[in-house]
Amino acid sequence: MIDFGYSLSKSNALKIENLDDSRFKALHKLEPDAYKCIGCGSCTASCSAGVFTELSLRKTLLSLQRGEGKGYIDQLQSCMLCGKCMLVCPRGINTRHLILSICKIYSVEQ
């Protein structure tokens, strides 16, 4: 094969029968805004901590919805809870409480 400098990446497909969304449902119960996210990324763009770290609420929430989330919970630990993401969110998601709730439910992993 000729090496063009890129290759096909591994499939990202989810097997729905393997999806464990019980914890995400628990999260939704704690913070009803959890399903509202449209993934626009405004929160990440305005993040105070994001200037210094990899913190991205959009990515974290997306991966949690997929029943994953490994590695992303650690990133949330750099959040300063300043609340800018809450002000810019076009869906009016209570992001600060969402972050606290994620930590509450998923921290069992740690």
């Binding site: 210094f52 750099s78 300063m80 809870l81 300043c82 609340g83 009016g92 409480h97 930590c103 921290s107």
Partner: protein
């Protein structure tokens, strides 16, 4: 006057005596518990303050003005004030005069609790004397005053608006028992004394009753029944008292010296906080004051209900109610007993577990460009969402010829207040330490802050050596007064909103208004200064949803538009951002408004 019975006792005094003994024992145990719960330093402080003459006098004055006269309620609404002070002061005088009478006529019986209370039953009048008539008239006068208060209290149940209240507290079961027995006590006393007025004497209240129903009243069989009823009403009230809101009557006597000693809340339901919680009379003034009352479903989360849950030690509700609160501090401002709800909520939040393993080891990587300005400007996180704030501040600083440096250009670290408000004080200490290091290392003598939230935490939590923390409203007003900054007056009307953390939090009300007056006219809001309504954007609340916040913001905007302003001015980027979404008139930052007056 002479005694009617040799033994000076009748079984009808028993309900009253049992109730009295119960209340006394309960209060003494409670007092010992509260004192023991206090940390040692606080206990010493309290004991020391009792022996300082100035403080002791202040305690007595406060007890008289707050417990008996209810001065704060008079200021709020005279009808409400009259209602409370007529019952409290009138009842107090009835008790005092009863004791004086006993001391004068039967000094041997003065040690008995019940004798002064049921004086008219045990005594018989022989002949009129001036001194006797004085007591008859005085007792009936105070009874009339108390009865008028009770009548008003009953009317308040039907029409609270007459007393300037929109909403009052929903009473619990024990509160109701206490309330109805309190209402019953004085009419029953009137009737009971009316029964014996033919024997013991009376005045303008009791004698007419006696004369109206002469045959019925003079029947000795009926006399004891009336006194039994009076005693049972008293006894019921006393037994309900420790479990109802009427516990505020004895508890306030303990709270006043504690408050004057300057104690601090260190635990949500121990020591000083416990004394405050028992002193809450559940009057419900905080319900109307709370910005959350803009939507009905949040009424149950206001301070008066929180106090009830703290009393019951219902941890789940306590946490939920505390997490919802905006922490604007208005309930504390209107509170009749100055219940430190802000501190109590902070202690609850600090105890709540979130499992948040917050780590800030990256803070050291933040290295701001060192500047040489004497003024270090810290815009704060929120200002990056309202760039106009920073732009206007820089413009004004340049216009005044000040040498300045901006500390957080292109992103800085948070001041730590949002974390503290979320009860994470230990984690916030990391940020405070890093910020302190940067600020002290900058060589500036003034830290200029354009955010009310940051300003409060810099004032309360930071110990900055050689650096003066100034909010930009103070700073620019100072420049204007010194004449270093000159502004031209326009013809716009500005309505200034007091941000919670700046006004109630730090007590800055006049500087922004003085400065704004140099660029235009002021259009006062309906409720302003200490009564200002939170914009609804507060980072204090953790769980309020967007919809609830919208209702609060809309109500707050209506308050701001009271006298038809051209601009709403605020001195906090968070309020600016929040208001801008819902306001029909333009919302501007304080510095932006001042820029209107700069020569173009």
């Amino acid at each position: 006057m002479r005694e009617r019975f040799l033994i000076g006792f009748d079984p009808f005094v028993l309900p009253f005596m049992l109730g009295m003994a119960f209340v006394l024992i309960y209060c003494i145990i409670g007092l010992i518990r509260v004192i023991l719960q206090l940390p040692k330093a606080d206990r010493r402080k309290l004991a020391a303050s009792l022996f300082v003459p100035v403080n002791a006098l202040r305690n007595i004055r406060d007890m008289f003005l707050d417990c008996l006269i209810h001065v704060k309620l008079w200021k709020r609404n005279p009808k409400l004030g009259y209602m409370h002070s007529s019952i409290a002061f009138g009842w107090f005088m009835l008790i005092v005069l009863g004791h004086v009478e006993t001391f004068i006529y039967v000094p041997g019986k003065a040690g008995l609790f019940y004798y002064p209370i049921f004086f008219r039953y045990f005594m018989q009048m022989e002949n009129y004397s001036l001194r006797g008539s004085f007591f008859f008239v005085a007792m009936d006068l105070f009874l009339l005053i108390v009865l008028s208060g009770i009548l008003l209290a009953m009317f308040k149940r039907i029409r609270k608006r007459f007393f300037g209240m929109r909403r009052t507290t929903r009473l619990s079961l024990t509160d109701r028992v206490g309330l109805y027995s309190l209402w019953a006590i004085f009419p029953l006393r009137w009737i009971a004394e009316g029964f014996t007025a033919g024997i013991a004497g009376g005045s303008f209240m009791t004698i007419p009753i006696n004369m109206l129903l002469k045959n019925f009243m003079s029947n000795p069989e009926n006399i004891t029944v009336a006194w039994w009823m009076y005693s049972v009403a008293l006894g019921t009230f006393m037994f309900a008292l420790p479990f109802s809101r009427y516990m505020h009557i004895p508890a306030e006597i303990l709270l006043i010296p504690m408050k004057n000693a300057g104690l601090k809340v260190y635990h949500p339901r121990k020591g000083f906080a416990l004394a405050q919680i028992y002193t809450c009379p559940s009057c419900g003034v905080c319900i109307d004051a709370c910005p959350m009352s803009a939507s009905r479903q949040n009424l149950k989360d206001t301070t008066v209900y929180l106090v009830r849950q703290v009393k019951r030690n219902n941890a789940r509700r306590m946490n939920a109610m505390t997490d919802k609160c905006l922490m604007c501090g208005k309930c504390q401002e209107v509170c009749q007993i100055n219940l430190q709800s802000y501190d109590i909520r902070m202690r609850i939040r600090e105890r709540a577990a979130y499992n948040v393993g917050l780590k800030y080891d990256y803070l050291d990587s933040y290295k701001p460009v060192p500047g040489k300005g004497k003024v270090l400007y810290y815009a704060g996180c929120m200002s990056s969402l309202t760039p106009v704030t920073g732009r206007s501040v820089r413009k004004l600083l340049n216009a005044a010829g000040v040498s300045w440096t901006q500390m957080d250009e292109g992103g800085g670290i948070c001041c730590g207040r949002p974390l503290i408000l979320a009860g994470r004080r230990r984690e916030a200490a990391d940020m405070i330490a890093r910020n302190t290091e940067i600020i002290e290392g900058s060589g500036a003598s003034v830290l200029l802050v354009s955010c009310a939230i940051c300003y409060r935490v810099f004032k309360e939590e930071y110990q900055l050596k050689g650096v003066k923390v100034m909010h930009y409203t103070e700073y620019f007003n100072g420049l204007l007064e010194e004449g270093k900054l000159r502004l031209k007056r326009g013809d716009l009307k500005y309505a200034y909103h007091d941000p919670c953390d700046l006004g109630r939090g730090c007590g800055i009300y006049d500087e922004p208004r003085e400065a704004l007056f140099r660029v235009g006219a002021l259009a006062p809001a309906k409720q302003e200064k200490a009564m200002s309504v939170c914009c609804g954007g507060s980072v204090g609340s953790l769980t309020l949803s967007d919809g609830d916040r919208a209702a609060i913001t809309q109500a707050s905007v209506v308050n701001m538009l009271h006298s038809g302003p051209d601009r709403i001015v605020t001195a906090c980027p968070l309020c600016l951002k929040t208001y801008s979404r819902y306001s029909p008139v333009k919302v501007v930052d304080f510095a932006e408004a001042l820029c209107d007056g700069l020569e173009k």
